[in-house]
Amino acid sequence: MFGSKPFFQVEPTTACNLNCEICMRSWLNRPIGFMDFNGFKKLLNLNHPTYIGFHGWGEPLLHNQIYDMIAYASSRKITTSLITNGTLLDEKKIRKLFSSGLKEFAFGVYRLKRLEKVSEKILLTTKLKKEFKLKDPKIFLDITVYEGNVDEIPKIVEEASMLGVEAINLHRLFNQHNPSFKALDEEKEAKLFGEIKTLAKKLKLQTFLPSKHTNPCRVVKYGIYITWDFKVTPCCFLPKEYLADALSAKVKDIVKSQPYKDFVKNMGKHTVCSKCII
């Protein structure tokens, strides 16, 4: 089960133009850097993932070769996805993203007021996709759910539908550094997800909800995290849990190594994993 890692989460950069209060990025205290494009090509030639998610602790559109990275992955028949805060988008960038072969294009939001700030850009994206008669990318709204925004979620979903978004993806907030941002308890979450499912069905929006958290979690079961400086770590919440250098070893060999096996075995006792709810 842990030998195959079809999902690579790749961090193009740790730079971000925003400083969202719910984000762990500033607490991680990591250097700001940008993934080298040639290194990225080497990473793909060394491994053959089926899916790459360009989302790490930074805004991917700040990387000036992000379009080339996506296009290169697409040419290798890899399904690509990207999550952006949307603030840097303009028509030229949207066209470049469409041309790169991107399959899933998500706007990350967590408050209604944040969504309103980028709603024009989302609308432009969905409008251009229709205008160009493109099948891909599928346009998502990626919504982070926590105690502080639970009442806003239905409104955000309605807004998503009005903006022409095709799907919504809800995910739980996990910020181990700031306890003031609490995840929903099971009961509240079940109620909200039920409500959102009904609403999304009515609005004809495809919905993706997180499954029940397990140990080992689904992230570790199917994915691996590659930091901008090519460090392989088990997931984005453990960017300093260095397993190996991504350019010197194949991921399929790294996951067979003793350090990785030990990590998986001890996840239940891990200081971060034991608290994780993702």
Partner: protein
């Protein structure tokens, strides 16, 4: 004997039908899983492997059915990307918005190569090599356009293999047509 008018209509119909069938096949084949399973990466992986069957075959067929009428191959060829672009942009590239022009140029070259290979007379070797070169030249223009605008180039390691496959695909596509047209005697020339 058909009149000139009916023959022109028949030729135009042949060109449109062949281009339409070619575009429909191109749009409906699930390229990604097939190419993935064979380890053929792009860009234009589908053209490398299937170019001969999806494009060269139908352009050659139209050209032969119309009695090798001048520009019938070229017309069929440029109608293929035109039909495909009614459904989606050429290779999904919308930056620049006029990227589709490269699709038309690539197929124009293909059409010219096929027409050239039918002169002065038809033979298996001449038409086969012509079909191979037609697919290769169409692929080369496509690679250059994609490479220039998206910075994705074919792997240098596999380039000779890709070129060989593309050539063979074109050869087979053209030869199939000649066999079919001779057997069914649908060729007007």
């Amino acid at each position: 004997m058909p009149t000139n008018d009916s023959s022109t209509i028949k030729n135009l119909l042949t060109i449109f039908v062949c281009a339409g069938v070619s575009a429909t096949i191109n749009l409906s084949i699930p390229m990604r899983p097939i190419l993935n399973s064979l380890g053929i990466f792009g860009p234009a992986g589908g053209m490398i492997l299937f170019g001969g069957f999806i494009f060269v075959l139908w352009v050659t067929l139209a050209h032969l059915i119309t009695g090798c009428k001048k520009l019938s191959g070229v017309s069929t060829a440029i109608l293929i990307p035109a039909f495909c672009m009614l459904v989606s942009p050429w290779y999904g590239v919308v930056d620049p918005p006029w990227f589709g022009v490269y699709g038309v140029i690539a197929f124009l070259v293909m059409g010219l190569m096929i027409e050239f290979s039918c002169k002065p007379k038809l033979s298996f070797a001449r038409l086969g090599i012509g079909g191979g070169i037609a697919n290769l030249s169409c692929l080369t223009v496509t690679w250059l356009a994609i490479g220039f605008y998206t910075h994705v180039w074919p792997s240098t390691r596999f380039l000779p293999l890709y070129l060989a496959i593309a050539f063979m695909s074109g050869v087979v596509g053209a030869v199939i047509v000649l066999v079919l047209t001779k057997k069914t005697k649908i060729c007007q020339s």
